[in-house]
């Protein structure tokens, strides 16, 4: 099943249980949102989720990988640049090529760009200020494995916390990203408009998150794991993980149907 394909199958349901999807949360030296991600996946949503150390070279047995926020390897050189050379990111590349779901959040997004798994770059925020606040995002694509439970064009609220989150790409790369519809989240105001004030860091085209061409790798600067429980002031991030779980279950069902 391709990531863009419909989740609904006209195949008759087998009724047989499929194994629960298994999530990996990668831990780099300097990751600091890894525990939050594991908490949401395991404690809030009840999924199977485990930490994977940055020296791990094999992701066999996992269905999805989360690259969490933080300051991997101290963010020396450029944010995500050193992490992109780590053994686990080589494994993530193979995992993504094989069709696995990969989501990079904040520093994880920076890692995916530095590793070349997503197009473009993230540079110092406009104004050189660290921005830690709630933002509004417009869901541009609700047909990805990460966003199927959102409505197209829906405006959601998520927190950001970063100093290097200004999306930049050379003109030809930016045009291609837009033409292919790879932008998944854009910074907007509460009414869904891309006003200059609604852009917290100066990102080109207000880009807050995007997918690769195949649609199975997502990177975003906002933190869905920090808004997956009402006690934290919002739950709009929760559906991102629930979308992944649903998509993986559907894929497992289809695969099981094919092999019987």
């Amino acid at each position: 099943m391709s990531p863009g394909a419909s989740l609904e199958s006209d195949r008759p349901r087998s009724g047989l249980p499929t194994p629960d999807p298994r999530f990996a949360v990668v831990v780099f030296p300097g990751s600091n949102c890894d525990r939050d991600c594991l908490h949401v996946l395991r404690d809030v949503l009840g999924y199977r989720a485990e930490f994977v150390w940055h020296e791990e070279e094999d992701l066999a047995g996992f269905d999805a990988v989360v690259l969490p926020g933080g300051f991997s390897y101290g963010d020396y050189l450029r944010p995500g640049a050193v992490a992109a050379t780590s053994p686990v990111v080589r494994a993530v590349r193979r995992f993504a090529e094989a069709g696995g779901l990969v989501v990079g959040i904040c520093n994880g997004f920076q890692v995916l760009l530095e590793a070349g798994l997503l197009p473009g770059a993230l540079v110092r925020n406009r104004g050189a200020t660290f921005r830690c606040e709630w933002v509004h995002l417009r869901v541009e694509r609700a047909d990805t494995p990460f966003t199927a439970l959102y409505a197209p064009g829906e405006v959601v609220r998520m927190p950001i916390a970063h100093g290097d989150g200004r999306y930049h790409a050379p003109r030809e790369v930016l045009e291609e990203v837009e033409q292919r519809g790879q932008v998944v989240f854009r910074y907007v105001d509460r009414d869904g408009r891309t006003t200059p004030e609604a852009n917290p860091n100066g990102s080109l085209h207000h880009i807050a998150g995007l997918v690769n061409r195949e649609g199975n790798v997502l990177g975003l600067m906002p933190h869905p794991e920090r808004c997956s429980e009402s006690v934290l002031g919002g739950q709009d991030g929760r559906r991102l993980f629930e979308s992944m779980d649903r998509w993986l279950r559907e894929r497992a069902r289809l695969t099981a149907g094919r092999t019987r």
């Binding site: 050189l77 104004g127 200004r166």
Partner: protein, 83 residues
């Protein structure tokens, strides 16, 4: 023999240099009417002499810089003896 090499990196002209702008603000606060301030970074490394320029360029493209947003210049420093 080894080569001592310096690599200087700047954001490409089209990329907003937020650090440069902040430094410019500071310079102006101190009374210097500076403009077009850019902040870059420099690396110095010692590498085996054979094919050094090609190898350093390759590392610049793959790791030391992000070619999407940065330009770099490689220069030779004084020679140092192999250990």
């Amino acid at each position: 023999m080894n080569k001592r090499v310096r690599v200087v990196v700047f954001l490409k002209p089209g990329v907003l240099d937020a650090q440069g702008q902040a430094v410019q603000t500071g310079l102006r606060a101190l009374g210097l009417e500076a403009s077009e301030v850019r902040v870059g970074k420099a690396f110095e490394l010692t590498v085996p002499e054979e094919g050094w320029r090609e190898r350093v360029r390759d590392l610049c493209e793959r790791f030391l810089t992000n070619p999407l947003i940065e330009d770099y210049e490689i220069s030779e420093r004084e020679e140092v003896a192999a250990r």
